[in-house]
Subunit: 407 residues, 2 copies
């Protein structure tokens, strides 16, 4: 939080308290005017539009000092887009989809829908040792049914442990069944896992998973869009699912009934251009019906994955650069040239599309490179991990390192 001004932090705390998650009008105003001006305008009642009435009323009651104090008491910090810990890489796709929706909305092509919009969060409350900005570069969202079978829970736990062992951060919700089994798998390896909760992080939901929340909140990361004290309403579960999808390099559905909430996360994952995978099971098991439905889908079918190796085959490629042995640095120039030479063709094509200086983003890179936006989003991490580009709240740019000190 260090580099973020108190004004911005307080304004984001207010927005987090008063705005329903995934609101296109609020995101649009904040993106345009910045959080401080947006909150001032709300306080002054400057937005006459009905869509803001609820927020304008509640903004008077918001007490960001109290929320931030309560957070601190529970070891919770507020991560905002202006801070270093914001997961710019993971949320790049949400930025793209939100900008598209704003354009459609402004052109009158589309009524604002009340849910399911793929809009970045305005701020995130987090608790735990893990740095949120690292999540999404090499991670896997593991989701599925609360009413999981022993088979499903075994797969979730075993694969999560193995994927964590391969350097993947596990991302899931906080429910019983598949969610809990996935976290337990990563925790069994003492490795990174991220639990995205629908309610405030001062309490566990469901309460039966309190011990799991505590464990994740120490070595991993608890994440919520809701300030402390907020109850996990149904609407928050649905908007929460977009964060799970966005924080995963890909999404793996282990078990899901035909109408499971996990299918909602799967849909988000596809709309974000992330690879979707599903684990098959017996056709006699209703807990696998949703997985089979995803694999059979005519449009954007899920990959049928049989093993951790299959998962790595699907989502390993974009991020395996991080596993390359790092050579002793020679001169910075040689090293950079080598790194560019070792890029795969897609990464090279993308790197060549970067402007020599200044920030750019996936949309502009799509124009410059001729690559599909979704491929760009999948390719950016390899450039970032190779140290060739850097991401921030402004977008992406060629990485210009400070002069290296000799080894």
């Amino acid at each position: 939080m260090g580099s973020v001004s108190d004004d911005v932090l307080l304004a984001r705390a207010v927005l987090s308290r008063v705005s329903e998650p995934s609101s296109i009008p609020v995101w649009r105003v904040v993106a345009r005017e910045g959080p401080v001006a947006a909150v001032e305008a709300l306080r002054a009642g400057r937005y006459e539009n009905d869509k803001f009435a609820a927020q304008a009323l509640r903004v008077a009651e918001a007490d960001p000092f109290a929320d931030l104090e309560a957070a601190q008491r529970h070891g919770i910090r507020l991560v905002v887009p202006e801070s270093d810990e914001w997961p710019h890489f993971a949320f790049a796709a949400l930025d793209v989809t939100a900008r598209r929706r704003v354009e459609e909305w402004e052109q009158g092509h589309r009524e604002q829908s009340q849910s399911g919009e793929l809009v970045p969060p305005l701020a995130l409350w987090v608790r735990g040792a893990l740095d949120l900005s690292t999540v999404g570069v090499r991670s896997v969202a593991i989701v599925g049914a609360r009413d999981a079978t022993e088979y499903g829970k075994w797969v979730a736990r075993d694969w999560a442990a193995k994927l964590a062992g391969h350097g993947f951060t596990v991302v899931s919700g906080g429910a019983h069944g598949i969610d809990a089994a996935a976290h337990r798998g990563a925790l069994s390896m003492r490795l990174d896992t991220v639990l995205v909760s629908a309610g405030g992080l001062d309490r566990a939901y469901p309460p039966g998973n309190a011990a799991l929340f505590d464990e994740v909140g120490e070595t991993g990361l608890l994440v919520s869009e809701s300030p402390p004290g907020a109850a996990p309403a149904r609407r928050r579960f649905l908007t929460r699912n977009r964060l799970i999808a966005a924080l995963g390099t890909g999404t793996l559905v282990v078990e899901a009934a035909a109408r499971s909430g996990a299918l909602n996360t799967a849909t988000h994952s596809i709309r974000l251009g992330r690879p979707l995978m599903a684990v098959p099971g017996p056709v006699t098991s209703s807990a696998s019906a949703g997985c089979h439905k995803l694999i059979r889908a005519e449009e954007d079918p899920a990959y049928l994955v049989r093993s951790v190796e299959d998962v790595l085959g699907v989502i390993g490629s974009a991020s395996d650069v991080s596993l390359l042995p790092i050579e002793q640095p020679r001169s910075r120039g040689d090293e950079l040239a080598d790194r560019v030479d070792s890029l795969d063709p897609a990464a090279r094509q993308l790197f060549d599309a970067f402007p020599a200086r200044g920030w750019t983003g996936p949309d502009r890179l799509a124009v410059a490179s001729g690559m599909p936006t979704l491929q760009i989003i999948r390719t950016l991490p390899s450039l970032e991990l190779a140290g060739l580009v850097e991401g921030s709240a402004e977008g992406y740019r060629i990485h210009r390192p400070a002069r290296a000190s000799p080894p």
Copy 2:
């Protein structure tokens, strides 16, 4: 057998005894010169080619009278391409692939491979009440592992029973596991099932399935390319698999290990242009590994099927015409026009491509209609079942019914 001359029947019996199954050179000579002339030529040693040496030597030892007598003692009849019971529809695709191989072979593009050629059989030994010519129009090949799990055997038996109830003939091998379970399912409904054996039908292989062979040989149909007394050599199992694939409107793999023989049948099915389906199972079960491999295939993936309804969705369409209620015939002309009008667009396109008189075949229809050969093979049954075309040893032609007597 009635309309087939004794000469032809005896010649085919000789060929069945002396020729290895799936031999392109033998099929080519028989197709050109007819079975009687081919056998005479073999007897006279007219084929100097090495490829016929083995057949030429053995032809002297062949005793077709003895083979036909032995068959009769076991209730086995010899079905030949010249007889009404020959499954012309089911084998149309084998004719196409065999003609292609002959062309490639004659043009020197391709050495004759010693196995796996998709060549029609020269004759079939059959036992049972079912008419072989009806098989393939509305049938499903159900194949899988000998070492099946209880899950796999349950699915094979349950689905076979239900598919039989929907008017599908079950086709499978004679092994323990999935094969036996599929036959048992159809038999439990007292409905049609076809067991294609690799050895002579005078004995069951494996012997433990003798009771199953007897039951199928009464109400269903036992089928073999081998004359009575022939042992089920390994090579015969592989060539046998092409008959299972060809006799199925589609092939369903219920359980198969990663290197199961059922995958060989699956490959044949794809090469014949038939829809391939596979049942998923737990990723922890090696008996489902082959099914998952088929579903994941990049080229020609198998349909993941969850239920009998899914199977009907895949292979029901081409043959559901047979389930349409048959109206009281009005005048023959009106009725014909109605039947043509009620065809789906593909069937209509195919019907329009038929010459006004004379025989045609899938290859020529492909040229005339602009439709892919495999689609033609899938569409022909609906025309045949609608009574608009008829199939025979010559190919297909517009059906010219005898003048109808008034109702």
